[in-house]
């Protein structure tokens, strides 16, 4: 298993480098200009000078090489410095300054280090999108199990309908709908997420929960819709298996048959699907973040795409690529752990 994991990790290096190059070239070849958002009142020669200052004058292989160097060498150094300077864990180590004098990956639009932006955006994204994922999973699993066990029952049909709704209604619609209902009409919940809110006591925790309810609800609906269908299908596959008949023939109660024997087997593919969905949490939910002004990673990506902020978009998409590759590996390893029939070597 360890050898397998190491082998996969080694293999992912050329894959990721290739992905990085493809992303870079795609961004490079896409039409658009980082100066497009600068007002027309700014003369062209000033814009040209601004482009020059961003390094756009250099040929693309140089810029790609620079980005690689910054991402894979400078940023880890910065991270090391942070670890030794201000982190809990290694703060006792002598302070280092490996990254002193090095140029980090700088966003064209904000002129700040891209990784700082990412670190700044992660908490709200993880809170909101991550929580919605957890909520979605927790709701989806029981629904899927019960739908499969009572296939074609009223419950199953209602579940099918709700899933269809969840699948087909886009968050920019459902998001605005819940805002109109719960914020505008009823006035119960805020429509704008406060990213600076700090939870210090019970009251502020309540505020945090309140502002999370709407986006979490909208996102969880989607997760629930997809996962409950998947769980249902997986349960149905297993309910028809011979070992279920064996368990019943042993006189096991339905509870044990379904929740011990069938569930364990059904969870194997579902767990990997859940694991594969995790990179999407880090990626944020672009539309929902936009609708509720949860300015997380997704919102960052979309604004920087609009601003043609190549370094930021490149870095973000590459981080997503890394996460996807990693979680694919994790999903495969999980499969091996959960299913005793599978052994990697």
């Amino acid at each position: 298993m360890l050898t397998y994991a190491i082998r996969r990790l080694l293999l992912s290096i050329p894959t990721l480098l290739f992905i990085a190059l493809v992303i870079f070239l795609l961004l490079e070849l896409a039409p658009g200009d980082p100066m497009a958002q600068v007002p027309l009142t700014v003369p062209d020669e000033v814009k040209a000078r601004m482009r020059e200052a961003l390094g756009l004058g250099r040929p693309w292989p140089v810029r790609f090489g620079l980005w690689l160097y910054q991402f894979f060498w400078v940023e880890p150094m910065v991270f090391l410095d942070w670890l030794t300077n201000s982190s809990f864990l290694f703060g006792w180590l002598p302070d280092t300054s490996f990254s002193a004098g090095m140029d980090r990956v700088i966003s064209w639009q904000t002129r700040g280090p891209v990784m700082d932006l990412v670190v700044q955006r992660l908490p709200q994204t993880l809170w909101v999108v991550g929580m919605s994922y957890v909520v979605g999973v927790l709701i989806a699993l029981p629904i899927g199990i019960l739908s499969a066990y009572r296939q074609y029952s009223v419950f199953d049909n209602v579940g099918t309908f709700v899933s269809m709704v969840g699948y087909s209604i886009p968050p920019f619609f459902s998001g605005v709908l819940v805002i109109v209902i719960f914020s505008v009409q009823l006035g119960w919940l805020p429509s704008i997420y406060d990213t600076t809110h700090v939870v210090t006591d019970w009251a502020s925790f309540k505020v945090q929960v309140q502002q999370m309810i709407l986006p979490v609800m909208v996102l969880a609906l989607q997760t629930t819709a997809q996962l409950s269908r998947f769980m249902r299908a997986s349960m149905l596959d297993n309910l028809g298996q011979d070992y279920v008949r064996t368990a019943r023939a042993k006189g096991m109660t339905e509870w044990v048959v379904v929740l011990t024997h069938v569930l364990r087997n059904s969870m194997i593919p579902v767990v990997t699907v859940i694991a594969l969905g995790i990179p999407a949490i880090f990626g944020g939910a672009i539309i929902t973040e936009q609708v509720f002004k949860v300015n997380g990673i997704g919102q960052l990506l979309i604004t920087q795409i609009q601003a043609n902020d190549l370094p930021t978009v490149q870095t973000l998409t590459f981080i997503f690529a890394v996460l996807i590759v990693m979680f694919n590996l994790i999903a495969d390893l999980l499969y091996g752990i959960l299913d005793p029939r599978i052994r990697y070597d």
Binding site: P31, G32, D33, M35, A36, Q37, V38, P39, L40, T41, V42, P43, D44, E45, V46, K47, A48, R49, M50, R51, E52, A53, L54, D103, I106, S107, Q109, T110, R111, G112, P113, D116, L117, Q120, R121, I179, S183, V184, G187, P190, S191, I192, D194, T195, T196, Q290, V291, K293, N295, Q299, L300, T303, Q304, Q306, A307, N308
Partner: protein, 571 residues
Amino acid sequence: MKLRTALLGAIAAVATAPMVHAEAHEGERGRDGEVRILYWQAPSILNPFLSGGTKDVEASSMILEPLARYNPSGELVPWLVDEIPTVANGGVSEDLTQITWKITPGITWSDGTPFTSEDVRFTWEYCTHPEGGCAQGAKFERVASVETPDEQTVVVTYEGPTPNPYLPFVGAESPILQAAQFAECLGAAASTCTEQNYNPIGTGPFVVTDFRPNDVIQMEANENYREEGKPAFQSVTFKGGGDAAAAGRAVMETGEFDYAWNLQLAPEVIAQMEQGGQGVPVAGFGTLVERIMLNHTNPDPNLGPDERSVVGPHPFLQDPAVYNAMSMAIDRPLLVEIGYGPAGRVTCNWVPAPEIYASTSMTCDTQDLEGAKAMLEEAGYVDTDGDGVRETPDGVPMNLLYQTSTNAVRQDFQALIKEWWEEIGFSVELRNIDSSVFFGGDAGSPDTFQKFYADVQMYANNFPGTDPQAYLGNGLCGNIPSPATQWQGENITRFCSEEYDALWAELAQTADIEERGRIARELNDMAVQGGMMIPLVDRGRISAHSNSLGGVDLNTWDSELWNVADWYRTE
């Protein structure tokens, strides 16, 4: 300059009402707690020299201040100085090459250090560094030197006579940076000064406590602010992101925010939001004109890329009978109503404001389809082959390719205007192009507005500040974009007239404000009547504030937040 009371529309009047009370509203600094501002485009940096974006300029205007700025009437008002230098008061030299600013004594930076002429000089140095990529470089273009005879005096010397010397250090786009803070950030280092760019030290009413790019800014009242009892708010939450509709909703319907910027929404949507009762929209008008540009060269695709829109006159668009008929066929009040509502007005001018520069010689607010047809008939444009499309006397069918950027209002306009023009005998083909491509300036793309590979194209443009001289310069023969200039140049329509060039040269030599107004109005008329463009709508800006926020005075000449120090809570 006179007060442009005429510019204040019905809604703007509502906005000015609380301003009257502002004088009566006094008390301790920070007495009104928190004010919450929502910009649906989130600020990404607080250094206006590194970003041309309005959102960034306006956000930073709460912290950084210029020496002088414009008030809602477009008048120059002293800000960090005692008075506006003029030739009359000796502040501007007779030969128009030098301007001397006298800084008000006692002004300090938010960190408590004194504000001096050295900071001003440093700002010039900062923006003119060749590797810095300063977005406001144009403001400093003709500046030969900035000298500081003493701590309170700044002498700006121009390369030549400059009738409008109020460009550098004036307005929200050109504020003063603290020399001490930005000393290490010159040139190529500008981009790496993250801390400085995110948290500039200023003289304004607020200081940044937390800046999250493209998300939220938190500010506290500047304890060293020069005016006693101001600002009234102790803290500011400046949130960004989302869309205009959500921003309007948050102020007017849910009341979560006090101020929402630039609500580019359909008129009926704004009207509906107002029903929410939590806040009101306010409008202000500047120089932004939605117009149809007429191509003076032949964009025929059969010509090669180096000839297209470069050589050869357009087959019919230069005939006054043609473009006047096209203009007459347009129902501008209808366009205003469907497109902009209270945020738009009919205009026949290229330069619609300030009043001194706004020509009154033309009217265009009634549609006259019959008159237009008659005009074309008379000039010999008739439909000879019976296909419903007129031909020129040379037999060229009057086909128009009409392009613009992708935007719902513009596509509505395109559809209506196409209908009207087809009614008077043109054949119109519509095209829309993604705005980042259209305005992107990529010399390799055939779809930019500079290339103008179409007969007519529609967009909006305006000019910074109040002086139209540079803007009127867009019509000079020398500014025509072409392959030779890598398609750079502001004279998009390739309008070219010796008479115009000569008159503009005269403007550039004139200092007297009344005389400048006369020449500018004449240039405006010359351009419009010469078929450079068909102006459509003077586009204002609509923002909204909550019912409990007082002191808002919408300013389109400067930052909307120009007087944030005067804002207060009414209840």
